[in-house]
Symmetry: C2
Amino acid sequence: MRRPHLSLQPDPDSAPLRISQLETPAALVDLDRLSQNLDRMAEYGAIHGLSLRPHVKTHKSPRIAAEQMRLGAVGLTCATPRELEVMADVTSDLLLAYPLLGAPKLARVLSIPQKVRLTVAVDSMIAVDELAATARIMDRPVQVYVELDLGMHRVGVQSVDDAIALAMRIAEQPPLEFAGITFYPGHIREPVGQQEAKLARLRSDLHAALERMERARVRPRVVSGGSTPAAWRMHEIPGVTEVRPGTYVYNDRTTAEIGACSWDDCAFTVLATVVSTAVSGQAVIDAGCKALGREPVRGVAGEGFAALIDRPEVTVQRMSEEHGILDLTRTSWRPRVGDVVRLVPNHVCIVVHLNDTIHGVRGELVEATWPVSARGRGGAPAGVV
Amino acid sequence: MRRPHLSLQPDPDSAPLRISQLETPAALVDLDRLSQNLDRMAEYGAIHGLSLRPHVKTHKSPRIAAEQMRLGAVGLTCATPRELEVMADVTSDLLLAYPLLGAPKLARVLSIPQKVRLTVAVDSMIAVDELAATARIMDRPVQVYVELDLGMHRVGVQSVDDAIALAMRIAEQPPLEFAGITFYPGHIREPVGQQEAKLARLRSDLHAALERMERARVRPRVVSGGSTPAAWRMHEIPGVTEVRPGTYVYNDRTTAEIGACSWDDCAFTVLATVVSTAVSGQAVIDAGCKALGREPVRGVAGEGFAALIDRPEVTVQRMSEEHGILDLTRTSWRPRVGDVVRLVPNHVCIVVHLNDTIHGVRGELVEATWPVSARGRGGAPAGVV
């Protein structure tokens, strides 16, 4: 197994902490599992000739982004201006996979260093025209993807005609350049083996769209798809050239329940302390919804908001802001006040967003601590990476 | 109406921004409503002779905490070490209303400046003994409340005998000092008018507990209760001397739906931009669960995760991390891409925790911007207040 990149190695000037010395709640990442997860997706892309453009929303860390680039990613995907700004130090090829609207945000995004080849996804004429006007004023070339709705019903144009019209509008407004199409197959969250009908529909819809665009001589250089649960199937969708998975770096309870990773691939846990067992039949931990989020298991039935990594049958059943209530009905385990537990959250991207720092661990040792530099909305202060 | 404290007045060295100049999503606080909310609770406490010890978890801001102190609060309530550290600059009387366990957290909490009279709530012998051991080593006096479960079934001893035993254990271990009892009536979330049965039960349980403790010569100097929805009823519970409401400063959709405030008392909104209307019947805004949280309406039936402040019938029905889907089925209003909206979240404490800065507004003007200084877990860097 490849070892992780130097920047995730032990901080050389600090004595190694043990996990037991950390104040709880704390966010931990198993460095070996992270390394395996990074390798596995890089290999998937390489084997199938799919460009890998990981979404940084999950880790929000330039250190992990740099490792993704080292392993062959063609660039990075971002959702917010802050993510773009922080990641501009890591790569010169960034995609904002999010509609860019509003003068303050437009000016901020188009101000990222000129050395960065910036791509923006759009699904409306208004967004194209505002982007074009700002890009002209700022003399900033911008690559543009047209976003298609291929089943998620969140954003994305509803017809191929609309996609073609947008692509033409982009092409006629330099310094914009039509670069491709993008879709987000986040509606495919069925357990592995039950995704076939939706994948078949996606395959035929994309095929039809590409044929129509070809006839209209609107040729997307890039066809960008893929989120973590469906990323592993994108080589089965002809035409797709690029995938943008995010969650795969850490994985989470939902990803494991769907079967898109194994439980042992879950690299991210929240360390928590049992703070009360006064009410019988439950134990209270110091990780509530301000530490775990309140995300359901998606795609499959599943109770609770997180599960113990070494006892997945024990879940967080109720939460207050700083209290999590462990359901002890499916276990004979009875924790004591002061015991420390580790939890796999339902949706890791949300939990990372709640933390300022992450501790990288191997076994019981804390080998590295890094800031979640791209968390938040404002400009990043100097030196946060 | 009293004007807010100086520190919430316009920043003198910056030209006033307009709300339309803010990048979205952004957290806004209506300064007039904030001021009225602060006044109203201060007056309630003063009229009924109840000490007000506001919980800072809602605002996490030393500026607002200072205003609460100026209006007569006896001290502040905190849930985390960071909140204690930041608020130690505001008052010399702090309560950690949270079980304090684990060596790292004990050492950190007992290191807040000696000038602060520190009180900690406990519900277990283990917590008392660990606290006593650390307090002895650090030569740090600590006031201790015993937490009773009076219906919430989250933390708190289950019997008055247990409370008396804990109080005695505290009293025999200086530098600990038994200071009182505390309970959290967070289970009382019924709409106003439907809380009577639970309030009657609370009244009789507390009465019985205080009688038993009196017979055992365990005399709580303080009886601390009250969360925002139930705080307004605490003068009807004989024996209660102190209330700890948090949410009242900003209020939220849940508080308004319960009837514990009016819709016009909601001071906190999330500013968001409509970024897509491509899918018919819905509009997508740039505030998803990373900006709004995913908290249900509690206490009463209620759909969605937030509602437009000027069109409460329009709610955020679905969310991704950075996308909120407005449900347009109950309105004839049809927003355009680029329109800006303001949303009242279901649970404001969670939303504040997602933000680094808050903008104080009057009408269309941004009059002040302050950091959410006590957000997060680590030590606060210098100058964050």
